[in-house]
């Protein structure tokens, strides 16, 4: 029986000729990842179990990104614990303030994820690297501890949903709109225990940054992972970043999918998710006019260079509306520098945005943009759950960088075309 991309990668890492959906396998890990919230819990479990060795100090990445630069004493203690562990075992890929970025933007940028690899991370958005044709999935802290000690993890081989993308997206339609639309179609548990395998001629129309955004939010449909085929754009991205050998994996022609979802990219409108579930999607036309007090542009979902370019295009020469606070967070130091070189940071500051050093900060209500009672934010992040960015009475609307920037200018949820009217291609 034919295998999907995910099944082929898992078979190879488990040392098996083939696997089938539902099979439990133990697979070899190419990278184990953790952050400043999950790593300390992993270290505690690691020490409690009396473990004394890591499997490979070059295949562990620890990124201090959630509460950093440390927001309070407790967060500082967690970072100190992670820092001391990294030092104790000589962890090569340890990223502290000054080098760190939002982990799922940083790991691909540093060449730590490649096609065909198996990566687990103690962060649910680890599924981001599926954009590069890797099998990557989020796990918890105990899995991280076990992975660091053994280089192994247990997996139930997932069945798959094939997501066929066709056509070319319109000017203000990005990867975020594609993935929000998909989650709206299948629901927040629509792909539970399954992989989302992307295919179709529409893939070639998506930039790598779009693909990272889409794979990143696979978890918001309950998926174990999301994975894209490797093409010329993937190879161009990997060039100069990954120098170890890697292998692109293609699905078998007779691979079995539980079902297929077809999305015509040319028919998509800018899409938003209203409170309090990512699946609560509306087109921007339906949501236009909803009031907001804060805009957040950044995160592992949408803090990459293309995201900042799209936001800056709209903010250039315009002002953030009175009564609205707009926070822009480049996801990594490299993205920050590239944005600076392109004049984007100047545009943001001239428009009245606050620009922050890389951090996950406001996405999880950690710091750098927490909401007050009854406030509503439009955010390019990934979750709009109750209490995610502030008190239970606060609300989050998820959107693309273009919609977020247009909303910042107008002061309510707005279609980018309303702001850019007449200037569109």
């Amino acid at each position: 029986m034919g295998m999907t991309m995910t099944q082929k990668i898992l078979a190879k890492h488990a040392g098996l000729a083939s696997v089938t959906a539902g099979q439990l396998v133990e697979g070899r890990l190419d990278l184990v990842l953790g952050n400043d919230i999950t790593t300390p819990v992993a270290i505690t479990e690691f020490d409690k179990a009396g473990l004394t060795q890591v499997f490979d100090r070059n295949k562990i990445a620890i990124v201090l990104d959630h509460y950093t630069p440390c927001k309070d004493i407790k967060a500082a203690q967690l970072c100190a614990q992670a820092r001391s562990f990294a030092q104790r075992f000589g962890i090569t890929h340890f990223y502290d303030v000054g080098q760190m970025g939002v982990e799922h933007a940083l790991i691909p940028e540093k060449g730590l994820a490649a096609p065909g690899e198996v990566i687990t991370g103690a962060d649910s958005h680890t599924c981001t690297y599926g954009a590069l044709g890797a099998f990557s999935t989020g796990v918890g802290s105990t899995d991280m501890a076990a992975g660091m000690a053994t280089g192994l993890a247990w997996f139930k081989v997932p069945s798959a949903i094939k997501v066929t993308l066709t056509g070319k997206p319109g000017k203000y339609v990005s990867g975020k709109d594609v993935v929000l639309h998909l989650i709206g179609e299948i629901g927040v548990d629509g792909a539970l225990y399954q992989s989302l395998e992307f295919a179709g001629d529409g893939v070639a129309e998506l930039t790598m940054d779009d693909r990272f955004t889409i794979a990143n939010m696979a978890i918001e449909a309950g998926a174990k992972n999301g994975i894209f085929p490797v093409d010329a754009r993937t190879r161009a991205y990997l060039k100069g970043r990954v120098d170890r050998p890697w292998e692109a994996v293609e699905p078998d022609a007779d691979a079995v999918y539980e079902r297929e979802v077809i999305i015509d990219l040319s028919a998509l409108r800018p899409t938003v998710s209203l409170p309090h579930l990512p699946s609560n999607t509306k087109t921007v036309d339906e949501a236009a006019g909803m009031s907001i007090q804060q805009v957040v542009i950044g995160s592992c979902t949408n803090g990459r260079l293309k995201d900042l370019q799209e936001a800056a295009d709209i903010l250039k020469g315009r002002q953030v509306a009175k009564g609205v606070r707009c926070i822009v967070i480049p996801a990594t130091q490299q993205i920050y520098m590239d944005a600076m070189a392109q004049g984007l940071i100047q545009t943001f500051i001239e428009s009245g945005c606050a620009v922050s050093t890389p951090t996950c900060g406001p996405c999880l209500g950690g710091h750098m943009g927490v909401l007050a009672d009854g406030e509503r934010a439009v955010s390019t992040t990934n979750r709009n759950f109750v209490g995610r960015m502030g008190p239970v009475s606060s609300e989050i609307i998820l959107a693309s960088p273009a919609v977020a920037a247009a909303s910042a200018v107008v002061g309510v949820i707005a279609d980018p075309e309303t702001v850019m009217g007449g200037t569109q291609a």
Binding site: A122, S124, V139, G140, T142, A146, W154, G387
Partner: protein
């Protein structure tokens, strides 16, 4: 054992809000458990109580702090129609019992007295006088649970040093 009942898509942000993840000790996690969905929970839950919920329990963040918080509260187990996969994994890995049973999740009411036999997966709602059969765990997972969690099972197998 009394039952606390919730709906579908109970996410890890409401099980333990991110604003408390800077203090991952059991006492702190327990004191804020379920705070954003049920402010009464942490103050009224007693050891042996059971949480019953709908589909996709534990969706969202990978924070192991979520099953840890429920375990630290003394919650005996969670019965749900389905679990989000990372929560499912984390619960097994830390040795916190979870039972997938859509029929029980639909029938059991808040406040019912419920007994659970983990050996057989039989759930008995003593108030309703009904029994339900939860899905059994695969042998591999059973072994992790019996060892008392993933790391202990790896040590037993001699895989981890």
């Amino acid at each position: 054992m009394k039952v606390y009942r919730y709906g579908d898509n109970v996410d890890t942000d409401v099980i333990i809000p991110a604003r408390y993840l800077n203090a991952p000790d059991e006492k702190s996690l327990a004191s804020h458990c379920m705070e954003d969905i049920d402010a009464q929970f942490a103050g009224t839950v007693e050891p042996g109580d059971i949480v019953v919920a709908g589909a996709n329990f534990g969706c969202g963040s990978s924070r192991e702090h979520a099953p840890l918080a429920l375990k630290a509260c003394g919650v005996k187990c969670v019965i749900a129609a389905s679990f989000a996969r990372i929560f499912y994994r984390n619960a097994i890995n830390i040795g916190f019992p979870i039972l997938e049973c859509p029929e029980a999740a639909a029938a059991i009411r808040a406040g019912d007295m419920v007994a659970v036999d983990f050996g057989t997966g039989v759930i008995t709602d003593e108030t309703l006088g009904k029994t339900f059969q939860a899905a059994p765990f695969p042998a591999f997972i059973e072994e992790i649970i019996e060892s008392g969690g993933l790391l202990k099972s790896l040590k037993t197998r001699g895989v981890a040093k």
